[in-house]
Every structure is written in structure tokens, then in C-alpha cells.
């Protein structure tokens, strides 16, 4: 290994370790790592500022920013609470029914919106519903994060790794619906039944006050019905365009940013308030990771990894793909799945350039990165959100509890996905 390769590897893995240790905010670590990579690259002449800018995938950032703006406009309207209260009333206070209905709402929202946003908004109102009925909110909060992680894999816009993979592999919105959605839906059904079984004891407890839930008025949760209606119309339009973006030769980021622009003009929100709700730190985290991985690529590290993997080409492609699902899932359970995805994209691209059939590998990466996050309390941001929220209540979710209830979900979804992946391998 050359000196640039060694230093680039140390910077990248050093940053990953710091992110994992949570000693420093992940975005601060990524900015520092990115800057260090460019400085070292300039000194040793393996990386330049221009190359660092080229390494940033603006399609991914644009798609994320556009969707974040739409959600940030929809959030204060109370629409999410409206859906949760509708579910609560429809459940008539029956825990199992409420569990399934809230799970379905979280699922549908997570397919089209960022998992973190979905959970941030649904979790507090879930706690409210559970408290007034008089049942434990823990099964509900955990399953919302777990189902949201699972179903996010189904669409191009459901989860950040998909945005990255779709952009790198050139997969369209419909490609995800054809190749990913069926496998994810079956995995989701498996996850739901498993959760119902794992939380059987908690869900069988009799609620103390069903009447209270029937007195919740969904209409009163909508603060701005007109704004909600307008943003939902724009969101529906954007989703329609996502279906045909490939045929129109339009990038998903243009669809998302145009939709955000239309909504901004139509709704004219308070921009200061709106921008406060955009997760800039996430966008900066992504951009910085792109810069770091660009450095790894320029230093020849990824080429060496591709070389090593090519030597393993005697492994049957199907085994290679299933193995990739589990390796990525295991990594995603302990480290953020975004850096893993960003680092593996050039590797898979390199394998493609050397003649390997890589389309199945892109899907394996998506399944592993998406499902792996459910494995541990820190595996996905949605998990961290519900755990942090539960820590502000009298019944915090512990790491031990997550290992008992979350890890089986990761293992089940990865197993179901692996079996279906193997059966459907020829279709990828």
C-alpha cells in the first residue's frame, strides 16, 4: 500500500470510529475528516479541491433537501398527528389493533418521507394515545422505528442509502418499486408478525380507559388544513413525477426541488422557521462523507478493495450477493449506514467496470443497509430518536430491551430478504 492510501484509510476509518464512539457529533467528525483528507491529498498530490467537489453527489443532496423542505412545511400543519389520532379512534382503544394501525401509518409515511422525520412526529403522539388509554408505549415506539427502518428500503426516496444507491446505479423510482418493494413488503409483514409475537405480553394487557381515545377529535389536530392540503397536493404531484422521471430524463433531485419550489410559492411559509426545521447537519454530513470517500478513491484504496474482491470472484455471484446483504447489515447495525453505503458505492462501481454483473449487488447493498439498522439501539437514527424520546419518559428503552426485541427483527428481515433475493436473483 502506498503512503497516500495508508493515510486516506486512516483518516476514513478514524472518522468512522469517532462517529461510532459518539464522542463527537457525526457531522463535526465528517467535516474535520473531509477537510483533513483534502489537506493531506493536496500535500501528497493525490487529491485536489476540484476532485473533492466532483466527488459530492449533488443529485443525492438535492433530492434530500427537496424532500426535507416539503416535510418541514407539512410538519407544523398537524397532518401527522391527524393520521395518528384517526388510527387511535379506528382502533377503538384495542392495543393490537392500534399497534397494527399505527404501524401501517408509520409504514406508509416512511415509504415516501424520511424515516427520522416520520418517527420524530409520530412518536410523541403515540405516547399520548398510549398514556390516555393506559397501556405501555414501549412496544409502539420500538415498532415504529423498526417498521420505519424496514419499509424505508422499499422506495427510492424512503431512506438515504436508497437515494445514494439510486443515484449511483441509475435506478429509477419504478426500479425500486419493481425490485425492492415486493421483497420489502414481505419482510415488513414478517417483521410485523414477529413484533406482535415479541410484544404479546404487553399488548394483551387490558386498556384502562378506552373512552378517552374516542373523545379525541382528529379535526382539532390540524392547525392549518389549507396548507396541509396544498402540500399534500404538491407531494402527490412529486410522487407522480417520480414514477416517470426516468422516462422524462429528469433527475429525482430536480423533481424534489421543483416540488419544494412549487410548495414554497403556493404556501409562502416563514422561511426562518422553515429553515430551522431542515436538517442541515445531515446534508453537511453527506457532503463531507462524499469528500472523504472521494479521497479514498483518489488514493487508490478502493481500487485495491475492488482488486481483492475480484480475486474472490470464484465465489458464486448469488452467494456473493447474499453475503453482501449480511456483511452490510452487520456493519449498519453498529455504524451509521450512510458512510458504509457511500464507501461501498465506488467499490461496486469498480467491480462493474471490471466486468462483474453488479445490479444484484446494488440491491444487496440496499437491503443490508436498510434492514441492518434495526439490529442495535444505535443502528439507525430512527432508533436513536425513539430511545432518546423514551428517556424523557418514566419508561426508557434500554439497550438490553432493544437486543431482545429489535435484533430479532433485523435477523428476520435479513433472512426473509436473503431467501427472496436468492429466489428472485435472476430478475435483478
Amino acid at each position: 500500500m502506498t503512503l497516500p492510501a495508508i493515510l486516506a484509510t486512516v483518516i476514513f476509518f478514524g472518522s468512522l470510529i469517532i462517529i461510532f464512539s459518539e464522542k463527537l457529533h457525526r457531522s463535526i467528525t465528517a467535516i474535520a475528516g473531509g477537510a483533513l483528507m483534502v489537506i493531506v491529498g493536496r500535500v501528497l498530490h493525490f487529491y485536489s479541491e476540484e476532485a473533492a467537489l466532483d466527488a459530492i453527489d449533488f443529485n443525492t443532496l438535492g433530492l434530500l433537501l427537496g424532500m426535507m423542505m416539503l416535510v418541514a412545511m407539512l410538519e407544523p400543519t398537524g397532518f401527522f398527528q391527524y393520521l395518528a389520532v384517526l388510527a387511535a379512534r379506528a382502533s377503538r382503544g384495542k392495543p393490537v389493533r392500534l399497534f397494527v394501525l399505527l404501524g401501517i401509518i408509520t409504514t406508509i409515511l416512511s415509504m415516501f418521507l424520511d424515516n427520522v422525520t416520520t418517527v420524530v412526529i409520530i412518536a410523541p403522539v403515540t405516547l399520548l394515545i398510549c398514556e390516555i388509554i393506559g397501556i405501555s408505549a414501549l412496544p409502539f415506539l420500538m415498532s415504529e422505528a423498526l417498521l420505519s427502518n424496514t419499509v424505508g428500503v422499499a422506495t427510492l426516496i424512503g431512506d438515504p442509502p436508497n437515494v445514494l444507491i439510486g443515484s449511483a446505479a441509475g435506478f429509477s423510482f419504478t426500479d425500486f418499486l419493481i425490485h425492492s418493494l415486493p421483497i420489502v413488503l414481505l419482510s415488513w409483514v414478517g417483521a410485523l408478525f414477529l413484533l406482535l409475537h415479541l410484544f404479546k405480553k404487553e399488548l394483551s394487557k387490558r386498556p384502562r380507559s378506552v373512552k378517552a381515545v374516542m373523545r379525541l377529535n382528529p379535526a382539532e389536530t390540524l392547525n392549518e388544513p389549507l396548507v396541509a392540503r396544498r402540500i399534500l397536493i404538491v407531494l402527490a404531484g412529486a410522487i407522480l413525477f417520480f414514477f416517470v422521471h426516468h422516462a422524462l430524463h429528469v433527475s429525482p433531485s430536480l423533481v424534489a426541488l421543483s416540488a419544494a419550489a412549487v410548495a414554497l410559492v403556493w404556501v409562502r411559509p416563514n422561511l426562518d422557521e422553515l429553515f430551522k426545521r431542515i436538517e442541515w447537519s445531515v446534508l453537511i454530513f453527506f457532503a463531507s462523507l462524499f469528500v472523504m470517500v472521494g479521497g479514498l478513491e483518489s488514493a487508490g484504496v478502493l481500487e485495491s478493495v475492488v482488486g481483492l474482491l475480484e480475486r474472490a470472484s470464484s465465489v458464486p455471484p448469488l452467494v456473493f450477493g447474499v453475503g453482501l446483504i449480511w456483511i452490510v447489515a452487520a456493519l449498519s447495525a453498529v455504524v451509521d449506514n450512510v458512510p458504509i453505503t457511500i464507501a461501498l458505492i465506488p467499490v461496486i462501481r469498480g467491480l462493474g467496470a471490471s466486468g462483474m454483473e453488479v445490479d444484484p449487488l446494488w440491491w444487496a447493498l440496499a437491503f443490508g443497509a436498510g434492514f441492518g439498522g434495526s439490529g442495535t439501539i444505535i443502528g439507525a437514527t430512527a432508533n436513536i430518536i425513539v430511545v432518546t424520546l423514551s428517556e424523557r419518559t418514566r419508561h426508557p428503552i434500554t439497550s438490553k430491551l432493544w437486543n431482545k426485541r429489535g435484533l430479532p427483527v433485523m435477523l428476520a428481515t435479513c433472512s426473509i430478504a436473503s431467501i427472496l433475493y436468492a429466489i428472485l436473483y435472476s430478475t435483478f
Binding site: L127, L128, I133, G134, L216, E220, R392
Partner: protein, 151 residues
């Protein structure tokens, strides 16, 4: 005018060895909103407010959901009580640091401190730090406003 001129001199307090259950009983019996926690030497080491005690019973969602207007019936929450284990904990686990002024403190300074710390009652201590009185917002406000009559 100083705060000692308007404070209540008969102060109800509890020792640091008391439990949360004891604190609640004193607040109920004396019908007061703030209970100073004092050491043997009479120096205040903390305060237990009626709000701190009610927080033990308030549902978790209240601090997490911005708007609760649409919840017309708190259902099971209304009949939830803190566990015996919680009530038997020491007042030290719930008390807040005492904010006090000395007896010669001016009325407006005392009032400004109450606003700043969002207090309804202010502890008044002697020069050697012993608790000698409690002045409420109303006590201080009435004392200030009464001087307007002479203007």
C-alpha cells in the same frame, strides 16, 4: 423598603431527611405552594414546589406534545398515581437549589430575581444564611404598589 418588611415570618419547612410523601403532606396541610428544605442549622438547602410534586403525576406526553388542546379526556392518566417507591424517596431527589435574598434586599431586586427564575415565592435569609421568611410575588407587589399612594 426592604423585603423583610413584607415577608411572612412564620415559615413552614421540612428537614433534608424527609421523604417526598412527607413534603406532599405538609403542602396539603398548610395549603402552601413552596416548601423550603432546611438543614439542622436552619440554613435552606433546597425547595420543593407544588409544581415539582405535580410533575410526578403529570403524563409524559405533556412535555413532548406541543399542543394538547385536542385531548379532551386524559383518560387513564387522571387515575394514575406515583408509585409508593417514588413517594418514599428522599426530598433530596426532587428538590431544586434554593434561591434566596438577604433580609435587607430591595423589593424591586427581589421581584426581578423572581421573574428571572420564574418563582412565585422567594426565600429570605438572615446575614448568617438562616431562613427567616418567605415573600410571595403578591407580598412584594402589594408593598411596591402601596408606595404609589404616597406619590
Amino acid at each position: 423598603m426592604t423585603v423583610s418588611s413584607c415577608m411572612k415570618k412564620h415559615v413552614v419547612s421540612i428537614p433534608v431527611t424527609a421523604t417526598i410523601r412527607d413534603a406532599a403532606a405538609v403542602i396539603v396541610n398548610k395549603h402552601i405552594g413552596l416548601l423550603p428544605v432546611v438543614e439542622k442549622n436552619g440554613k435552606p438547602v433546597g425547595v420543593i414546589g407544588i409544581r415539582d410534586l405535580l410533575t410526578l403525576e403529570l403524563p409524559d406526553f405533556v412535555s413532548l406534545v406541543a399542543d394538547v388542546d385536542f385531548v379532551h379526556d386524559f383518560g387513564a392518566v387522571e387515575t394514575t398515581r406515583p408509585s409508593a417507591r417514588t413517594l418514599d424517596k428522599s426530598v433530596k431527589s426532587l428538590m431544586k437549589p434554593p434561591i434566596a435574598v438577604e433580609e435587607d434586599c430591595g423589593l424591586l431586586r427581589a421581584y426581578a430575581l423572581m421573574l428571572q427564575h420564574n418563582l412565585h415565592d422567594m426565600l429570605v435569609v438572615s446575614k448568617d444564611g438562616k431562613l427567616i421568611g418567605v415573600a410571595s410575588r403578591v407580598d412584594i407587589g402589594v408593598a411596591v404598589l402601596s408606595s404609589w399612594e404616597k406619590t
